[in-house]
């Protein structure tokens, strides 16, 4: 009884003191900032007369560290080049890089920090992470470019999925297999895919194309910790598939290709864009990957014969010597360019607020960074482009891959309606 009394007293005193302290002036009491800079440009969070702060929420220590590192480095390179050329709107770009290590809780904390300190997020890695804060991104009107290509992230005005989504890639890929006579109508296709929205998106695309062409999909769902594709190959070999679709990680691709080839299975393997990484070519998996293995990509490979890409390849190799040049290098750089181009437009409209930035970005119907396919940003319930490159791993080439088919939009892909906000 006594202790209850004491607790009540403690609480009462604490409440009184707290009320007193809370009543003192707090920074938060001033409300939202805003206002205009000296040059008459309206400024949003993270923007001053001298700087524009951009946030990067990436994975540098978790399972997707290889991807995050390339993306971040190439993006840093782009912003440095922009600053060296005078910056944007008379302001220098400053990046706030935060590493969530592919942990949703950290990603949410990081977003809470960025939500008040930066104008936009040119890189947010991992679709579970972006999905976790999607509501907040929408209510904060935070212009965000996710580094994930699943359909889950479509349908949100501030979120710009760049390039194609995994399902569109798969449709274009299957069309390509058909056009090259690698498969024919009525065939069975094996599809090994990761649990989750990456694999789910890809599977949806594959099923759509299969339906239209009278193909059958033999599904093999795996998890990220499955490293040995022996059982999957055995099952697909039993099902007598004509080709194997692969929407998992590079390790799984290497294992799948290695086992299939060692058992004399000659079927073509077609991977999603995350199914290959150039590091694999330095491992014993190489012989299996340079033969009959293809993968799709919305972005041009670093070996592409485009002036902008060549410039990037040189600059990147100079700044980060010896580092792998995977497709993420082009993607990160391109996303930096997309944000800077939106910033420039917003500057012309004298509105560097979050709303102004999104408005500027969404007005661009034919954005061409020179790094691949031009994109249309005026809608957000469909992928910004439906053109897919088909690439093939090749040794001793920057980025470890060459183009087999230039960016092409198959007729089937144009009729495809991607699911919005799910997979």
């Amino acid at each position: 009884m006594k202790s209850t009394l004491r607790m009540t007293a403690v609480t009462a005193v604490a409440l009184a003191l707290a009320a007193g302290a809370a009543g003192c002036a707090s920074d938060k009491a001033t409300g939202g900032s805003g206002g205009a800079g000296a040059d008459g440009v309206k400024q949003g969070p993270g923007v001053t007369d001298k700087t524009i702060k951009l946030g990067v929420a990436t994975d540098l220590t978790g399972v997707y560290a290889p991807l995050g590192k390339s993306l971040t480095q190439s993006q840093q390179l782009y912003f440095e080049q922009t600053n060296a050329a005078g910056g944007v709107c008379g302001r220098k770009i400053e990046t706030v890089v935060r590493d969530h290590g592919y942990d949703p809780q950290k990603a949410v904390s990081i977003y809470s920090e960025l939500s008040t300190s930066v104008l936009a997020i040119p890189q947010f890695l991992g679709s579970p992470m972006v999905t976790a804060v999607k509501q907040r991104i929408e209510s904060d009107k935070m212009f965000t470019i996710p580094s994930a290509w699943s359909t889950t992230l479509l349908g949100s005005e501030p979120i710009q999925v760049t390039g194609t989504t995994y399902d569109v890639d798969m449709i274009n890929g299957i069309e390509w297999l058909l056009s090259k006579k690698l498969i024919k109508k009525g065939d069975k296709l094996g599809h090994v895919y990761f649990e989750g929205d990456y694999g789910g998106s890809a599977l949806r695309g594959a099923k759509f194309a299969a339906d239209k062409h009278g193909l059958t999909i033999v599904e093999q769902k795996i998890k990220a910790t499955d490293n040995d594709m022996g059982p999957q190959v055995a099952a697909l070999s039993k099902a007598k598939v004509a080709a194997i679709l692969m929407s998992a990680g590079p390790r799984q691709s290497a294992s799948l290709a290695g086992i299939a080839r060692s058992q004399g299975m000659k079927q073509p393997i077609l991977g999603s864009n995350s199914a290959f990484s150039p590091q694999l070519l330095a491992t014993p998996a190489k012989p299996a990957l340079v033969e009959g293995f293809f993968f799709t990509s919305a972005g041009a490979p670093i070996s592409a014969d485009l002036p902008e890409v060549k410039k990037l390849a040189d600059a990147y190799a100079k700044k980060y010597p010896g580092q792998p040049m995977d497709s993420a290098v082009v993607s990160g750089y391109g996303n930096g360019a997309i944000v800077v181009s939106a910033l420039k437009k917003a500057c012309e409209a004298k509105d560097l607020t979050r709303e102004g930035l999104i408005k500027a970005h969404r007005s661009d119907a034919n954005a061409d960074t020179g790094l691949g396919t031009p994109m249309n940003f005026t809608y957000f319930d469909k992928p910004a482009t439906r053109k897919t490159y088909v690439l093939q791993p090749k040794d001793k080439i920057p980025g470890g891959a060459v183009i087999v088919q230039e960016a092409t939009e198959s007729e089937l892909a144009t009729t495809y309606q991607p699911p919005v906000g799910s997979y």
Binding site: T61, E219, K223, D226, D228, L256, Q279
Partner: protein
């Protein structure tokens, strides 16, 4: 039928690697009654050393170095951490190995960075054809190595003085100590042996068909937990049988996932744990584990 045999072979060969890891758990548990959650990082240590040294030293020397380093690291963990711990509770010691695991894994993944390190093994991606079924040489090597090592340990436990000391320590620590068994040496030896086994397992987990060692390799060690426990945490035979059961269950569940879609796809990873729960319900101390008898 071919598919079934292929899955069987695959399961047995991967199961034998799990058995090697599980054997490490069991040896440490027998000697010290501690569950070693740092086993994953010992795996990574061994694999990393082999991968880094194989170009300079050649594969076999690198393998020896990897096994030696992992054994030394294991012994050091015992010497520097577990021995100095004042907590008598085995749960607390198990949790301290989680701390050790975090430390070692963080440093090693930082070193590995974003690379995929090849092991430089002599088998590469070659296969052997046996009766219409092709088996990777690495898998045969894994099976033979695991079988040899496990037989050696079973014999060592029975006939060497170290093995007898270890069994005595597992039976009754105090009595063993009174009989002149140096418990500290026994437990340090156990940790070193577990480290060495982990290095060998790391090799077979990262060679063909896996492309090499990278930061996610250590996750596989988790699969050896159900293997160790369903065989019985204090039974070396149990580790062998447990490893094989887990390997087979995983392989068959993944290979026949299209026939059991009602369980949800991708059941392969869950099946080992389901098998473990079922076995533990029937035999709470695992298949070969000693039941703790309580006399009052």
């Amino acid at each position: 039928m071919t598919t079934f045999i292929e899955l069987l072979v695959n399961g047995v060969s991967i199961g034998s690697v799990y058995a090697l890891i599980a054997l490490g758990f069991v040896i440490i548990f027998k000697a010290t009654e501690v569950v070693n959650f740092a086993h994953a990082s010992l795996l990574l240590v061994g694999g990393y050393v082999i991968a880094v040294l194989h170009e300079d030293l050649g594969f076999w020397l690198a393998l020896v170095a990897g096994v030696a380093v992992a054994a030394v690291v294991g012994a050091l963990v015992e010497f520097c951490v577990l021995r100095r711990s004042r907590a008598g509770d085995q749960h607390v010691l198990a949790i301290v190995t989680i701390g050790v695991d975090i430390l070692l894994t963080t440093e090693l993944t930082r070193r590995i960075g974003t690379d995929v390190l090849a092991m430089g093994d002599p088998w590469q991606s070659q296969v052997v054809q046996i009766g219409g079924i092709s088996i990777a040489q690495t898998r045969i090597a894994a099976l033979v190595t695991a079988a040899t090592l496990i037989t050696c340990f079973l014999l060592a436990f029975r006939y060497t003085s170290w093995g007898i000391a270890m069994r005595a320590a597992a039976e009754d620590r105090e009595t063993a100590a009174l009989m002149g068994v140096r418990l500290s040496r026994v437990s340090m030896g156990a940790w070193a042996v577990a480290g060495a086994l982990a290095a060998v397992a790391a090799l077979f987990l990262t060679v063909f068909p896996t492309p090499g060692l990278d930061r996610s390799t250590s996750l596989v060690a988790l699969k050896a937990f159900p293997a160790a426990i369903l065989g019985g945490l204090d039974s070396t035979t149990g580790a062998l049988v447990g490893g094989l059961i887990i390997g087979l269950a995983e392989s068959l569940a993944a290979g026949y996932q299209n026939d059991v879609t009602f369980l949800g796809r991708g059941i392969g990873e869950v099946v080992p744990y389901l098998v473990m729960i079922v076995i533990l319900l029937i035999r709470p101390a695992g298949l070969f584990g000693t039941r703790e008898l309580a006399r009052v």
